[in-house]
């Protein structure tokens, strides 16, 4: 069982867990990425996520299929949030189930690492001082937001 989705509402981690849980799954593991309050020394107030949605959906589906085939047919569900997120909100959640812990843990790590390498999603940090910057564009001056 695999599931991959981009979502605009808060991620329901227990809902994701019930997608992969079964009586055969003796091990369920997960990863959550959470908006934190500081990045590279700057106070962060929130993060805006955007994506090339068609491609991001396709890449996420490919990654969960790869995880299932590399790690003994684990069940895996991943969702990534888009839009404006506040501190403490979950930006990405992965839940993996298998009869045993090793394939589940390995698959979970695989999915988050590949997602961060390949899935066309971008974030713009909103700083406590009111400025904003794309995380891929560190060298550009932060845009001052007026009004």
């Amino acid at each position: 069982m695999t599931h991959a989705a981009l979502v605009r509402q808060p991620i329901d981690v227990s809902g994701l867990t019930s997608l992969v849980a079964s009586h055969a799954a003796g091990a369920i593991t997960g990863f959550m990425g959470v908006v934190r309050d500081v990045n590279e020394g700057r106070a962060v107030a929130g993060i805006e996520y955007t994506a090339y949605e068609e491609m991001a959906q396709r890449e996420m589906e490919q990654i969960v299929h790869e995880a299932a085939s590399r790690f003994d047919n684990v069940s895996v569900a991943v969702q990534h949030r888009l839009g404006e997120l506040s501190l403490g909100e979950i930006s990405v959640a992965i839940v993996v189930a298998h009869a045993h812990r090793a394939p589940a843990l390995d698959a979970c790590r695989y999915v988050i690492e590949e997602l961060k390498k390949r899935v066309p999603i971008w974030k713009r940090e909103h700083y406590a001082d009111g400025s904003r910057a794309w995380v891929d564009d560190r060298n550009a001056p932060a845009t001052e937001v007026v009004g």
Partner: protein, 80 residues
């Protein structure tokens, strides 16, 4: 022939557009779309060799384009 160009995140801000409709000669390749975009005002803020996808799949510079293709310029990804 016409192709669509998609720009995202910092690239869209640099060029000042998210989508462009571009006319390229028949037989054009990804490289030709890159050269077109590199000639636009603001393109000096793009890296010399940005990742490019055609129709939502990563594509090399020598990939041939067809009319109606969507050529997406992919900034360094930052999900998670």
């Amino acid at each position: 022939m016409q192709v669509g160009v998609l720009l995202f995140a910092s690239y869209a801000d640099a060029i000042g557009a998210r989508t462009l409709r571009v006319t390229l000669p028949h037989g054009a390749r990804v490289q030709d779309a890159l050269e077109y975009v590199r000639g636009l005002p603001g393109a000096e803020r793009l890296p010399p060799a940005p990742l490019i996808a055609v129709n939502a799949e990563y594509a090399p510079l020598d990939r041939a384009l067809a009319a109606g293709d969507e050529v997406a310029f992919i900034p360094p990804v930052a999900g998670g």
